[in-house]
């Protein structure tokens, strides 16, 4: 059984349609990429899964239970964390405070040091900057902090919205290397990316969205090698 199964997801923003018919599944331990051009509905899909926008229709099954429409604070407690588009850090608070906030739903306080240690081991840069306010971080550091904050809730599934956006190649390498490490630790990942090439190198499988619909699904390697697919959907 898949960990996450989205079927026929629709999201409306007033009269505008953010997602019309999105279906996808993610199995435990997989890295799945969500591709598509500007405005295709990637962010909308991730936000609906995370509980930030209520779906107008469709199902979001998490470990067999329909969580569509549940509030975000409920969903993060169930083991799904989102590193959102634009990071949305608490810029007036310290790096450490941001990470601690990520663990808001932690039931056992004794687990806190272990979680900090895990994030700091993954991104030593955050440890160096832990007393600094998040607003003073560079773009790469902000992405690391957004990821770290999401990890502090010890999720089973991590949703990542455009982790490469606005970052230089060196930092992107660093972030994606961290994602691979996380996968070996058993984390499941669903990554929305505009730069398909990057995402397909990392992912096992991928879905392509177009104007709010899933139009294509395949193994990452196949999609990467199919020139027609690349031309039609992936901008290259």
């Amino acid at each position: 059984m898949s960990l996450l199964a989205v079927a026929g997801l629709a999201v409306h923003y007033g009269d505008l349609i953010g997602a019309a018919d999105v279906s996808l599944t993610v199995a435990a331990g997989e890295i799945v990429a969500l591709l598509g051009a500007n405005g295709a509905g990637k962010t909308t899909t991730l936000n609906a899964i995370a509980g930030l926008v209520p779906p107008a229709g469709g199902q979001i099954l998490w470990q067999g239970e329909d969580i569509a429409g549940r509030p975000a604070h409920h969903i993060v407690a169930r083991g799904i964390a989102l590193s959102p588009e634009g990071w949305r850090l608490f810029t007036r608070q310290s790096v450490e405070a941001n990470l601690r906030l990520g663990a808001t739903r932690l039931a056992v306080r004794a687990e806190l040091p272990g979680r900090f240690a895990r994030v700091y081991a993954l991104f030593p840069r955050l440890a160096e900057r832990r007393r600094q306010s998040a607003g003073t971080l560079s773009g790469g550091e902000r992405q690391m902090l957004a990821l770290g904050r999401a990890l502090m809730s010890a999720p089973r599934l991590l949703l990542l919205d455009e982790p490469s956006l606005g970052l230089g190649p060196a930092v992107v390498d660093q972030v994606f290397a961290a994602l691979l490490t996380l996968r070996t630790e058993g984390l499941t990942l669903l990554i929305a990316e505009q730069s398909a090439e990057l995402a397909l190198e990392l992912a096992d499988r991928a879905y392509v969205l177009q104007t709010g619909r899933t139009v294509l699904e395949g193994r990452a390697g196949d999609l990467l090698q199919n020139p027609e697919v690349r031309r039609a959907y992936l901008g290259g």
């Binding site: 995370a50 509980g51 930030l52 509030p71 975000a72 604070h73 993060v76 407690a77 964390a81 989102l82 959102p84 949305r88 850090l89 608490f90 810029t91 007036r92 608070q93 405070a97 601690r100 906030l101 990520g102 808001t104 739903r105 904050r149 502090m152 809730s153």
Partner: protein
């Protein structure tokens, strides 16, 4: 020597202004809502003190926490019954709703207690402490020190505790706060509770040395608005500095120019300060 005495008196009063304003600035900082009923919250707390003293024969050790608790409850209740709904409406609806709430409260009090001025009996903390050549009224000393302690405590709670960090998280980005598992509604309700409790404690303390009437909140809340503006909207250290400054200015101008002129001096300096620094002393530009 009289100068030192005046400054000391001003600082004690200013600390109460600071606490009063902290509640206002906390609610603003959390959700960009101005609570126009804040002065009426203060007035309500003064009547709570009056009733507690008159009918239960208790002292400040009881009526201050009592006012804090009751106003906390009122703040939380007002959030859920009123604010949460009008937040979705236009700005004018938000302004009018708290304004209307204030009018409702003062007329309820007016109806029960009439418009007569009342005050707590003089024996309540009525002594005078003579220290280092200064003569400080016990009531004002108690009020000033407690207000100072609570204002600093509120600031420490916001900046040093996990709970404060969650409040600030909601203040900065509601959506991101939801993502990490915070319920913004709960935090905003607590902010209203704490903000109202600040008004509650300040009111109960002011009642120790001030007359009580259904309209007493008006003049006090005006000072609080000036303090919040001067300190920078949302800043508690700003409210503290501005509150203390206004207390001292009032005290000095009442002595040297005349009590009738103290408000004029405060507002003239306020306008001047805004002209020089529109974002307030500690506000962000």
């Amino acid at each position: 020597m009289i100068l030192v005495q005046l400054v000391a008196d001003g600082l004690l009063l200013g600390a109460v202004y600071a606490l009063l304003s902290s509640g206002l600035t906390l609610i603003w900082g959390m959700m960009n809502v101005v609570n126009f009923a804040h002065g009426d919250f203060v007035m309500l707390a003064m009547y709570i003190a009056f009733v507690a003293v008159t009918f239960l024969h208790v002292g400040p050790a009881v009526f201050v926490p009592l006012a804090a608790l009751m106003l906390f409850g009122l703040g939380v209740g007002v959030y859920f019954a009123l604010i949460r709904h009008v937040m979705r409406g236009p700005m004018l609806a938000q302004i009018l709703s708290t304004f209307g709430l204030g009018i409702l409260l003062r007329y309820m009090v007016f109806w029960v207690f009439s418009a007569n001025f009342v005050s707590l009996p003089n024996r309540m903390a009525g002594g005078v402490l003579a220290i280092a050549g200064l003569r400080l009224q016990d009531s004002r000393l108690l009020a000033g020190l407690m207000a100072l302690l609570l204002t600093v405590g509120l600031h420490l709670m916001l900046t040093r505790t996990a709970f404060g960090s969650r409040l600030l998280a909601v203040a900065e980005d509601r959506t991101a706060a939801m993502l990490v598992g915070i319920r913004p509604d709960a935090m905003q309700a607590l902010a209203w509770g704490i903000g109202a409790a600040c008004a509650g404690v300040a009111g109960a303390l002011i009642a120790l040395f001030f007359y009580i009437s259904p309209l007493v909140g008006d003049s006090l809340v005006l000072i609080a608005f000036v303090t919040v503006c001067l300190g920078g909207f949302g800043s508690i250290p700003g409210a503290l500095v501005a509150g203390l400054a206004i207390g001292v200015i009032e005290s000095l101008s009442a002595w040297f120019i005349g009590a009738a002129w103290q408000d004029v001096v405060v507002f003239a300096l306020f306008l001047l300060a805004l002209w020089l620094r529109p974002q307030g002393l500690m506000g962000k530009a």
